[in-house]
Subunit: 427 residues, 3 copies
């Protein structure tokens, strides 16, 4: 079997989705979600009409983009949407003109400080037509006239998103949200929805799921606002913990971005799992930038945080053509997948236990304690004794894990063993 | 216009008051308050008779001092009250005797470790007659006999203090207290009452004052006890925040002395304003030494703290003849004035806001958000987004300022703008 | 008088008890407690029959040990219980066999990493017969056959413990627990019960005791479980603070092991007293190892912690023949005794006071404040002023001691003086 088999599956799905031009709305989103539906047939796709209200916002016109290019008036293409869909400013209005070089340059966004990279730019809420190019390439323009064409349309249509529910014993939910609105960008964002889909497959393998699991695939900001405006009451009632999954494919170290309060069950699970690593970077909510902006807004206040690798905005490839399929790896995706699976396991098995004995129980007669006592003989059962000492009916396992400094994946089997022995009961 | 125009006004008033011999009681206090009344005609002067009770204390006899000197029996003055009023121990009883050199020396306080400076000494609560001299000068005494005279009187009279109220929309008050009981000492204390008077003038310029402002000018310790004993009920009901203003004229760095609890509105405003400086020194309440001793005593518990420059007791010139008009500067007074004005502004505009939108509001359509989105484009509106994110109806602006690390003078205009846009409401 | 007179008394009692072979049960415990009864005739000895339940545990058969040896078949003793009772694994079943060298070695516990020391080993809860030897000595075995004898018995009998109550004004108790189940081991454990007995003598000298004092001498783990199972209701109602006294005889620095919560009155007293030392080591409850395991178990939750010198398990001599009478000293015992006496004094005099004056009281007229006021003149009364400032009817003296950084032994006399002056009242 290959190294990182699940990472490779995630990577290959991302590779298949990579060329599609997703945006806030449009056929690119639809096509992407349909490919994901092939992996998880229960994925439900929703269409929300232009003009629909979402709190303070309104769903705009749908954007369709067929082609775009800049061409020398008598020559070949200088730049083509079909080569790289980042070349068109997202939501560009239709355009077809012959322009002077100077006029053309005014329409083009570049990154002079990263001269070989094409920036990713959008203009959802003001009608514009624009191109994006590498700064080096703009320097090579030497003709007086160019023909610039954007073969796009902005008309009444729909905002498209998808949702997948995997029910468990309880209506209480673990919630995952990931974005599907970026064109050919790999870490931010295709690593997010593809890894989230793999998590859904993992959840399906869990028997006796305590929680229900909900996975939503939405365009950033407006998508989460649309979703929230349609589901807020149920979300506030049922979401026990949730995660915004993005930037999980590069080989940078792990990072954590808290919910606004920073101490929800999701935060506690995330910090518990990450603290078993050698290190991870902990951001402040002031450094937020994805859909936790909506999920954790005042009055919404959902228990949702993020576990990432290199955070959006913090790596040089972010929102450029360098955030491509070479920037993410099966190995990194597999590691991120495992971290999220650990968080799921921690949440599934987190429970508040109470020791049934007054004082320490007599473990030796149960074969759980060394019968020969000498200096250091109790070390082997120290973790078990610590679990019993803190199982006070108030602390949950995540809390005990932090106090006794034992990772959840080692603590959970101990708790289950002591529960079977009748020495711990759930409260 | 001169640099530091307000600092210069404060300095000049202090210079005019400097030669007057103030004490716990007496005409020096009366004369000083009358000069201050010329600046603020609404200043009310109160006279509290000898024998009046103030909690555990009693107003003592009033002290009048006309002159004092030490003179060689057949020669000129060695030392004269008229040259420097620090030469007489405060509250000295009348004295007129020819003394041997040894007898004289027993009456004289010096500072051997600061041999060129005259100490400031008082004996309010035990009747004494005494002189203060530079240690170097006592070494020069070479005659067998000296004539020592203190032309003073201790008789039934009054303790004098003054009060100024500038009403606002609310009966809730911001309270300022400063001492007027030290003779020719500049930083501790004339910088205090003169700067406080300038704050009163500043408050008069504020239109739509939310708070009322009260300024009291009292002798230290007994004055605050007298004032408290007459006004405690109202003070406990109405004082929202208060400051003991002293040691604000030297060029040392800023310092903060908390109230006993350390977390009142006054403390929060002081720490907020000071934390915008490069640095400031934070003392403990254990290092208190002025009227916060009374204002924050158990059972009184007012929300009162101090913002100072070099704190009393912490600078070598403290309570010596070197704490003179050269030790304080218009520049330092102006800086201190501005810090206190900032605290006033922070208190006036502090409010608890709630975001009116669920999720983030759509700012782009209000012209408040960049419409072209690229890596880093949201940085310019980050502070506004942070304010919206934390305006939860629980945190006040001072609290939000601390969390989002934005000084109140930048946060207040943002809050007012969003309030005008209907995106924030006061709760 | 000798240096360390009380330390010497403690040391001499430990020396007398040292040769006796104590264990979980048996005549060694009885004999030790009877010797201790000679010191404190009110010590009550209790016998709990084999088979008695103690929560999840059962009192096992009583162990009697008369002799044990290993001998060359035709030669002299290699090892004898009478030389050092550590040579026999505690609770060894009777044994009398001629064994091959190889068979014999399987019965012997050694410490290869400390080759000259005999380990201390027990097997209370599984029937075994075994010996303990220095590893160096096992290397010298060169005969093919040995005769190994353990002249012991395991039969129905009793678990023995003792208790001493010194009543005070209140039924509220300060509780001390120390172990009497180790054979010839000095720091862990004889320093514990012998010092505890000296504390009982100290408590007897206290007139007007506010608290009652209870001292229990029990075998570790099972003894505390037996004691708890018989007294839990009263203990939960009446114990105000308690200490597990062990490892108090060596010259290592002081250390503190908290109760599970870490903030009980016992913890506060212990930390207060220890913080007056230059330094002390603070352990976590995760490093517990003595009867706090039972006293602080969930559902029992007594306010009990430990003040020790070198903690069990943390010094190389622990549970070996090197933890002998040379390892503990009268000097160290006297120091530990004084620390515990200070904790007792702190608890006895701890009270919640309220200042009777509004504002600061006028101390000068009571002769409590310097009447000549100059820079620094109030320093001499700073502690008294701080006590008055924090006597708010909420903080107790231990709390105030921590805030104003004044040790309890200096704070208590100040509080009593101000109480006599009518300036403080107890609430």
């Amino acid at each position: 079997m290959a190294d990182n088999p699940i990472g490779l599956q995630i990577y290959n799905l991302a590779k298949r989705l990579f060329p599609i031009c997703r945006s806030l709305t449009g056929d690119g989103v639809r096509e992407s979600l349909k490919i994901m539906q092939q992996v998880m047939p229960n994925l439900n796709i929703f269409e929300v009409p232009t003009g629909s209200a979402a709190f303070d916002w309104t769903v705009p016109k749908e954007w369709q983009i067929r082609d775009a290019f800049i061409r020398e008036v008598d020559g070949g293409n200088l730049l083509s949407f079909k080569e790289n869909n980042l070349h068109v400013v997202g939501y560009s209005a239709p355009f077809d003109k012959v322009l002077s070089k100077e006029e053309l340059i005014k329409m083009i966004c570049t990154l002079p400080e990263k001269p070989s990279l094409i920036p990713y730019v959008t203009s959802y809420y003001e009608e514009r037509s624009g191109f994006c190019m590498a700064y080096n390439d703009i320097l090579k323009l030497d003709k007086p006239l160019y023909h610039a064409v954007i073969d796009s349309a902005l008309k009444d249509g729909f905002l498209t998103y998808a949702e997948l529910l995997i029910p468990g014993e309880s209506e209480k939910e673990i919630f995952f949200s990931s974005n599907i609105c970026h064109p050919s960008l790999a870490n931010n964002e295709l690593s997010g929805p593809t890894l989230t889909l793999a998590l859904a497959k993992y959840v399906e393998t869990l028997t006796n799921r305590r929680f229900s699991y909900r996975f939503v695939f939405i365009p950033e900001t407006l998508g989460s606002l649309v979703y929230l405006s349609r589901n807020l009451e149920k979300m506030k009632r049922d979401i026990a913990a949730g995660f915004v999954v993005c930037c999980v494919g590069d080989e940078g170290g792990f990072s954590y971005l808290p919910s606004r309060s920073g101490c929800t069950l999701a935060d506690r699970a995330a910090k518990n799992i990450l603290s078993a690593l050698d290190s991870y970077k902990s951001y402040s909510y002031l450094e937020r930038g994805s859909d936790e902006r909506q999920y954790c807004a005042t009055g919404i206040d959902l228990p949702i945080c993020s576990i990432m690798r290199s955070k959006y905005g913090e790596y040089p490839e972010y929102h450029t053509s360098a955030d491509n399929m070479d920037f993410i790896t099966p190995k990194a995706l597999e590691e991120s997948y495992k971290i999220y699976c650990s968080a799921i396991d921690a949440l599934e098995h987190n429970a508040t236990y109470k020791s049934t004995a007054l004082g320490e129980p007599q473990l030796a007669r149960r074969g759980l304690y060394p019968t020969l006592s000498y200096a250091g003989s109790a070390a082997s059962v120290r973790d078990m004794m610590n679990l019993l000492a803190y199982a006070d009916g108030l602390l949950d396992l995540i809390g005990i894990s932090g106090i006794i400094k034992l990772p959840m994946n080692e603590l959970i089997p101990l708790a289950l063993k002591l529960e079977r022995e009748g020495l711990l009961v759930r409260v």
